[in-house]
Amino acid sequence: MALIKVENLTKIYNTTAVPVKALNNVSVEFEKGEFTAIVGPSGSGKTTFLNMIGGLDKPSEGQIIVDGVKLADLKGSKLVEYRLHHIGFVFQAYNLIPVFSALENVEFIMLLQGVPKKERQQRARELLEAVGLGDRLNNRPGQLSGGQQQRVAVARALASRPEFVLADEPTANLDSKSADDLLDLMENLNQKYNMTFIFSTHDARVIKRARRVVTLRDGAVVNDQTSN
């Protein structure tokens, strides 16, 4: 059974005078352990698609089933709980809590999950060491480079032990070296832990590293290619 099943997904925004169809009847499935890039030009619906899978936005039509659970059936705090325990998020602008250290940022997700203090501190330390930031545990985001901040964001996304990680343009704000390092890290985590990564990008380097590339244009899937 597919980990994520997207069926006839349509999203229409009514915020302007003319309704905008951001997603148009998208149907796609993702298996456990995939390393998939969602690509397409700006405005093609990549971020909307990730937001839908992540339960951050509601479809106008169609449905999303994650591990047998219909996201539409989850409301309010149940949906928040679901995101907390099942999905890891990595954002383009890192979006770490600026007043927390790297260690505390990673620990915070586990605090929300109710993990005991000792355990969450140990796990946060291990994750930061795994992303190569063992010597930056107590640095705040402002004291880290963009690449380092995005590594903390990846560690934070993995801290909740999610079923899959959604990354929205994770390399967009990084230089080449940092982007390569981050891709190495995500690839390594994908292979080592069979962690599912779905990321939106229009970065050619990222697309080249993805094992599956789903191309969106004008809100519709125009290509879905898997390489070995």
Partner: protein, 404 residues
């Protein structure tokens, strides 16, 4: 960790937080001092007035205050004076037998008030000895009178002269006596100065044919803020057909003027606190509006809105309470200084105080409830301003916040 996050969040913008703290700090200092001076002055005025004659409380027969008749007297032996004296905050008890009679000397007759007292007990309650301007103070076994200066002048009385007393005694009998003048006392209030005659209680009970009976027991306490407490305790120690009346019942004009003045003070405070509320509110609005995206991220990664509200509430409480507590600490030395060095005032107001025999000073109160109330008010302001984050975060949609 949530409180840790709140604490660190408020220091993201140090200048803004310090400005918000300063506004609360100075407002609380001002409010505490205003309130301390106002309540301190009331307490001083009430204390001085109670010392004059009435005391803070009086034990009476239930009908006495309305009828002022000797028929509505109480039995001295029905009161346990030793237990009454032991009630916390009670400074003294003055048993009295009061009656209005005709007073004559030579060809002149006036109406006066005879007050039978236990001289030493009375002095503890009203400092009567300090009003003596000629002659000697009464002893318990004397058969003599202290006459107020105005009355003595009207009757042409001097020390050693005999005052004729003629009136109605208990059960409609006749009270008549001849009392030598042992001392002259002076009151700054004309009504009192023209009417008061003090005699020993035993003598009064003999004259009015009321052995072992009293019309009232005046009670002096240390501070007005203990009035309710003492009144309740005293009420439990007296027979059920007696009652305890307090100074607001005995002196309604004073009570009303204090209430009126207090309302104007409260209005000033309310204005001050509205200013504080807007200061804190402005800070909160800015703190929220610049973190919309961050809130969106936190909700997206799985933070419940209620937890986000806890963090935001922590920020408001930190700013409000730090401001309030430092304000209270800042106000303490000022209040304590002026409590021991009252501000003396002059002019027309001072003259009206002098006329009442009260020293014209602004006393400061060190009542801890003044300080606690300010902290409480600031906390309530924090609660009120919290309505904005509740409204804002409740409506926040993570996908829109992420796009902001």
């Amino acid at each position: 960790m949530y409180l840790n996050l709140s604490w660190r969040n408020i220091w993201r913008n140090k200048k803004r937080t310090l400005i918000a703290l300063a506004s609360v700090f100075f407002a609380v200092i001002t409010a505490v001092n205003m309130r301390s001076m106002q309540l301190g002055s009331y307490a001083y005025m009430i204390h001085s007035t109670a010392r004059f004659y009435n005391g803070y409380l009086q034990i009476q027969n239930k009908q006495y205050w309305e009828k002022r008749s000797l028929e509505n007297s109480i039995l001295q032996d029905s009161l346990d004076f030793s237990r009454l004296k032991q009630v916390h905050h009670v400074l003294g008890l003055a048993p009295r037998l009061e009656a209005f009679t005709l007073l004559s000397f030579g060809n002149t007759t006036r109406v006066g008030q005879i007050i039978g007292i236990e001289p030493e007990q009375e002095n503890k309650v009203t400092n009567l000895k300090t009003r003596l301007i000629a002659g000697e103070y009464l002893r318990q076994d004397d058969y003599a009178a202290l006459v107020s200066k105005g009355l003595a002048q009207m009757l042409g009385l001097s020390l050693g002269d005999s005052l004729v007393l003629y009136g109605q005694a208990y059960h409609g009998q006749i009270a008549a006596s001849l009392l030598p003048v042992k001392g002259i006392i002076e009151y700054p209030i004309r009504e009192l100065n023209n009417s008061m005659v003090y005699i020993p209680l035993q003598a009064a009970q003999d004259i009015f044919l009321m052995p072992g009976r009293l019309t009232s027991v005046a009670i002096m306490i240390d501070e007005n803020r203990h009035l309710k407490d003492v009144k309740e305790k005293v009420a439990r120690l007296i027979p059920p057909h007696y009652r305890v009346i307090d100074w607001p019942t005995m002196l309604p004009e004073l009570h009303q003027s204090i209430q009126f003045d207090n309302i104007s003070g409260m209005l000033m405070l309310a204005i001050l606190y509205v200013v504080i509320a807007f200061g804190v509110f402005g800070t909160i609005v800015m703190m929220i509006s610049e973190r919309v995206r961050e809130f969106g991220i936190l909700i997206a990664v799985g933070m419940k809105k209620t937890r986000l509200l806890i963090v935001t509430f922590g920020e408001i409480v930190f700013i409000s309470l730090i401001g309030a507590l430092t304000g209270i600490l800042g106000a303490l030395p000022i209040v304590y200084y002026f409590a021991s060095h009252p501000i003396r005032f002059t002019g027309e107001a001072a003259r009206s105080f002098d006329a009442l025999g009260i020293e014209p000073v602004f006393n400061f109160s060190t009542d801890p409830t003044i300080f606690l109330n300010q902290a409480l008010v600031v906390f309530l302001i924090a609660l009120a301003t919290f309505a904005y984050p509740i409204f804002f975060i409740k409506k926040l949609e993570p996908d829109k916040a992420l796009r902001s």
